[in-house]
Amino acid sequence: MVCEMETDQIEEMDVEVLSSMWPDDVGTQADNQFNVEKPAGDSDTLKEVDIAEKRTMADLKRLPELLNTTDQGSSQLTNLVRQWEYMQDHAVRLLREELKILTRQREEAEAKELKIIEEHNFETEEPESVPVLDETSHLFRRFRQKKRDELVDSKRVVIDEEFDTVAYWKQKALSLEKMLEASTERERRLIEKLNESLKTMESHSAPVEELTQNLKRAEGFLHFILQNAPIVMGHQDKDLRYLFIYNKFPSLREQDILGKTGVEIFHGGGVKESEDFKREVLEKGKASKREITFETELFGSKTFLIYVEPVYNKAREKIGINYMGMEVTDQVRKREKMAKLREDNAVRKAMESELTKTIHITEETMRAKQMLATMSHEIRSPLSGVVGMAEILSTTKLDKEQRQLLNVMISSGDLVLQLINDILDLSKVESGVMKLEATKFRPREVVKHVLQTAAASLKKDLTLEGNIADEVPILVVGDVLRIRQILTNLISNAIKFTHRGKVGIKLKVISEPSFASDKEQNETSVWICCDVYDTGIGIPENALPCLFKKYMQASADHARKYGGTGLGLAICKQLVELMGGQLTVTSQVNLGSTFTFILPYKVATSDDHSDDQDEFSDMVDHHQPEPDDTTEGYFQFKALLGSIYSNGGPVMGSNFLPHKAMLTSPIKLINGSVADPSNSSGQSQTVQVENGGYMDESESAHQYGNGNGHRCSYKESESCSSSQASSEMESELTVSSPREEEKTETEVKETSQPKILLVEDNKINIMVAKSMMKQLGYTMDIANNGVEAINAVKDTSYDLVLMDVCMPVMDGLKATRLIRSYEESGNWDAAIEAGVDIKTSESEQGCERSTDRLPIVAMTANTLAESSEECYANGMDSFISKPVTLQKLKECLQQYLQ
């Protein structure tokens, strides 16, 4: 038995050594012993058990399960720990129970053994004397000894067994002993194991910590990730009550949320939608995402991308949903912005393409207009040649028929020219090339002259009247040429469509109209409203809208009946608008029309006449402005029927030379001055006759047919003046007013040959100009440059200077400036300063001569506005564009040699 036990132990040791995988030669016997004594083997087995236990408790597979089953996901860790602890406790308790059971078993076994021993003793009582007793007592002793781990006793038992007395007892005792032995052994082992287990229990708190750390790490990781993520996660049950929520924006506490539905927690936009969405997912059983914008009091307007998935339990029943929301407000905003931008982009692109189209069309139109303008220009040049030649032809000797034919030719040519000029004007205005010039002018005179001019060509029995309110300033600043153009257009239009009654112009000051832009207004500007009214056929209402359109007339009938291009009003309107005004019309069929235009003007101070360069004042009161003339407010003119070809009438200007008609002062009804008493015919030349020093000029003007192209009449002189003749032909124009000094044309020519100076450096140009002058009946002096021109002007009193702009030595602009400076100062100091060699010997005479303004006309190769501005700025009165033609030269001479 001892051997068995020993071998057992040895076997155990071997196993131990093997299991530890330590080779035999490693370490000393003591080490081995130590190892043996260490509970290594037991611990090993326990460890295995332990690991198995640990797996079951800390199984990671259980984590999702836990998550699913726990109500509060957020407290999962504590739960886990609690569970772990609980299970550990449980294990301890189990072990303890087992221990208890084992202890009880042992006690039972001991009790049994005692009983058996007692029995044995009782049985062996009888054969006490028998040495068996000894043996049994030995046995008992040995058992006890063995229990106390006394190996010496067992040795003794072995020796005792050899003793063979009673077989039955011996056998029974042996089996009992074996059972006992096994039981004892088991007990010992169990106790050992228990001790080990208890020991390892303590030492194996390590796995718990490890697990806790793992969990902590996982939690930390999750926290680390989710810390700043705008994420809300949650689990809701079938009724959409929150069972778990993780919220980055914990504005609500757990107890406010858990167990409630979204609707119960929030109010506002989007809540219902999200609730519906969750329900939908729950019903369909399919995870899906949606973007929902919340508008709640709790966190304002926020957009969440919500992911919802249904949750099933193990029986595949839906038990709720998991949802995860990420705040994407910014992204949504950005996306919306992007979408908007994209939309804008698309719109812009569309607009762009539209614009390009429009530009294209506009360009086409502009090109067409440009072409029209160019063509017009191209037509104008040869046409002016035709007309000019016809005019020259009319100066030759012709019979009556030829003359009539020629007249038709000239007037037709003039018409076409006018049309072309209109087109050019229009395209100039439209293309923005036209520039307005600011000059001082007297509105009264402008009105008067326009009416005079109109009356000159009037062939109808109409009264033309002008009415200017007193408050209209005497002198204003504006583009007088354009204003005159507008007035002339409107008046001629009115006359065209009026057969009886009157046509008139009314001027009055009005307050600033509403359409005016206030930025340009200042205290010195004044708004003048000008009505051009007639008693004509009127305009039907339906024709009013297209009245100001180009090439449009009220009706085709009118176009046939009255002719015209339909450009006039369009030009008027554009001009008025260009000047910042407005042109309107009111009309009644068969009663008449009134065209009204409102324009802003700057009020000019009327006292400095020296600056007053406009042509009308130049012509009318260049020398001594007639005081009444500037302030009178009413004019009336009447046409004279049947005056053509009759004798005794004053000269009638042809209408294509409008400036011819501006000489006559009208009779003023206001001051009631009738005809000059000395003038038996009651002719309206009174003013001229009275206005001495003005006479010669007007006479010289007559020679070119610059007669007073109209009658200035008033009631009393009507009958008389109606007998006066007018003629459209220059050659037949005669100064037929019954003046004292009646002269024939030739006489006039001889006595008042005007002195003209041509300043030009180009030989060819001089030749051509000279020849033209000859043809027109003049001679002229030549200066080759500015210096020569100044010397010539100093020595001779010229009536007109034609000045080339571009010249060597001194150009025309400078020469003009110096001449003007002389006119102002009366000396040539400026010229001397400029280095001009003034011959002083003859200069005395020049200095004494009157410092009237000498008309200087520039001859420039450039007809652009800048150039003309330059000319005007340097004191020139006008300019002729090169090359000089007969027509241009003639017009110029007519304008200035009056």
């Binding site: 060819i764 051509v768 020849s771 571009c806």
Partner: protein, 154 residues
């Protein structure tokens, strides 16, 4: 021949003038010149054109000299010459010469020497073309006058 020559010559003159107008060599200013010719100055056009050619020849020579000079920089003088040329050309209605002169002038204003050289070449070309055409015109005119003179006593 005596009888028909005038008409034929006149037709030739007209055709030549038409083609010159059509090509833009001449413009209406030339007609102005013709208008100025009358009994008192029967050779006015011829005289003017001759003077024009004399003057222009001088100017062109001067221009060429100026431009041929390697160290030349007097664009202002070129501009003055060209102004003269432009002025007289436009006065006689030599449109194409005038136009190429204007282009030449803008090149000179930009101090663009290659442009100037090219401009000069073109101007010279146009000038010679004009001269040839004028020569032809005057010859025809002369023949026509002769023919007319022959016919007149009849």
């Amino acid at each position: 021949m005596l009888g028909f020559g005038v008409d034929r010559l006149q037709a030739d003159i007209n055709r030549l003038l038409t083609s010159l107008f059509h090509q833009g060599v001449l413009d209406e200013q030339f007609l102005q010149l013709q208008q100025l010719q009358d009994e008192t100055s029967p050779t006015f056009v011829y005289d003017v054109i001759n003077i024009y050619f004399d003057e222009s020849e001088k100017l062109l020579r001067s221009l060429r000299l100026l431009l041929m000079d390697r160290e030349f920089s007097d664009y202002k003088k070129i501009g003055l010459h060209l102004n003269q040329l432009v002025g007289s050309s436009s006065s006689i209605g030599a449109r194409r010469v005038r136009n190429v002169c204007v282009a030449f002038r803008s090149a000179s204003e930009l101090n663009n020497r290659p442009g100037c050289l090219r401009g000069l070449e073109i101007v010279e070309h146009e000038y010679h073309y004009l001269k040839n055409m004028m020569h032809e015109l005057f010859q025809l005119e002369q023949q026509r006058l002769l023919a007319a003179g022959v016919r007149y006593p009849m």
